[in-house]
């Protein structure tokens, strides 16, 4: 999978490394701004109130 991505990135090794870094940052950004905030309430780690639910 990662090998496949590496082989399909254009340019020489340096360009590939730079593009990989950009991809990693983009993935982390998407996770932190969209995926984790969505997933968090569904996981049982951070409920603090007492209630009847």
């Amino acid at each position: 999978m990662y090998g496949w991505i590496w082989r399909h990135l254009p340019g020489n090794a340096w360009v590939k490394a730079f593009l990989s870094l950009v991809l990693v940052v983009a993935v982390v950004y998407v996770l932190f701004t969209y995926v984790f905030p969505w997933a968090e309430p569904l996981l049982p780690f951070n409920n603090v109130t007492v209630d009847n639910q």
Binding site: M1, Y2, G3, V28, L31, F32, F36, A39, E40, P41, P44, F45, N46, N47, V48, T49, V50, D51, N52
Partner: protein, 256 residues
Amino acid sequence: MNVAATTDDTEHAERVGDSPSPGRPARRGMGPIATVISVFGELLITAGLVMGLFVVYSLWWTNVVADRAAGEQADKIRDIWARQDGGSGRGAAFDAKNGIGFLHVPAMSGSEILVEKGTTSKILNDGVAGYYTDPVKATLPTSGRKGNFSLAAHRDGHGAKFHNIHKLAKGDPIVFETKDKWFVYKVYAILPETSKYNVQVLADIPKESGRTKAGNYITLTTCTPIYTSRYRYVVWGELERVQKVDENRTPPEELR
């Protein structure tokens, strides 16, 4: 000896002679099973990294975001208070959306905690303490009525405002600051572990704390043990005195 050495050498030479080629042909010729296993392995590694990132997100990033949000709202409210004090005008600026005051608990945290209405995660995730509107409505100290001022805040992440709740001991002060009054409470009972369904702790007269008469109580609730939400940690305090805010907003002696 000699013989052995020679055989060794030839074998070695053979291997060296072979070695440049396996690199490429092996990859191209990777069988379907090997491909599936390698992709599966990479997916597992990815899952591990994502989970690690989620921990970073929960315990660090949410704090950054929440502290920023709480700081902005706190500034706004201080601003509104200052403007009202200026006498320029309309007292209409009491806006529950921006919060109603600040909680100071020196034994727990060095900084003030903004208090807002409601305990939904949307509100608490801004790094504030919320007072209960559901399932039991909190009685605000500003209302002048007897009852229970019940609050909740995060133990971890999202500002983690009640992170050190276990450091509170009997007799420690909890001070609630409003525009013109300091409400000084003293901790009198602690329930280190209770069910999350135990809404009795929010009652106007919290019987579990040992009180049987109506009074001015404060209840702090959060989750416990740290990093999980299995149980709830509850701290009760009782109003000791109310002090007027002077023009310099000199804090009561408990906070000095």
